[in-house]
Symmetry: C2
Subunit: 132 residues, 2 copies
């Protein structure tokens, strides 16, 4: 069993964030020693999963839906599959953008506005914003 500072040290998450995650039900502490929370070791795995989800662009609410609230992380395969697909689409978009930016950097022409490549990038960007 780990106290909050040890868990913080191991994961790099500040204690405030760990308390917050417990408060919203993302992790659990398994008892107290006096006032102090005690966490089981496998909470580190859960935290890694949470970090993973955030990196992939999921909100904490989505992550909770994906990994469940109970003790062991129970992964929802169907949802994960969908999310992998979304992630894939995002990667494709970012790739277009990256290439587009590099093009702009190298394209010495003053008029990007007329450049078909540039226009294509902008269409991608606009499409994405429209979706908000």
């Amino acid at each position: 069993m780990l106290d909050i500072s040890e868990l913080s040290r191991r994961t790099g998450f500040p204690a405030s964030r760990l308390r917050y995650y417990e408060e919203i039900g993302l992790i659990r502490s398994s008892g107290r020693k006096g006032l102090k929370r005690l966490f089981e070791e496998d909470v580190t795995t859960r935290l890694a999963l949470i970090a993973l989800g955030q990196t992939a662009g999921f909100s904490l609410a989505e992550i909770r839906a994906l990994i469940g609230v109970e003790g062991k992380p129970r992964l929802d395969r169907a949802r994960l599959g969908q999310q992998a697909d979304r992630l894939n689409a995002q990667i494709d978009e970012l790739t277009v953008l990256r290439d587009g930016i590099r093009h702009i950097v190298n394209c010495s022409a003053e008029n990007h506005l007329d450049c078909p490549r540039f226009r294509r990038i902008m269409r991608v960007a606009m499409k994405r914003r429209g979706a908000r």
Copy 2:
């Protein structure tokens, strides 16, 4: 010259957002007709650039630094190059995550926690969170 509702219609940005962008200096209106703002057509280009920047994960402040405040979008090539590199790193990370998620979906083993692939993904995720 376009009034705000026409600009909104063309770009898909709500009028409130356009006013907000003007307020923080991201776009300019070029005069009024009575009370009503009038925008030049090329503001749509600027808005596309802004959308582009956001899609690439830049804050509005960063975008302002990149495209400048004056009339014509003046792109900062050096910064853009850096940002393309960052974007590239992000793409690499997301790719690892995507593949990792797909692996989890297909890996019928109960114990992802022991799977080296899964561990690798988690390391990436943790590293990223650490950087916040």
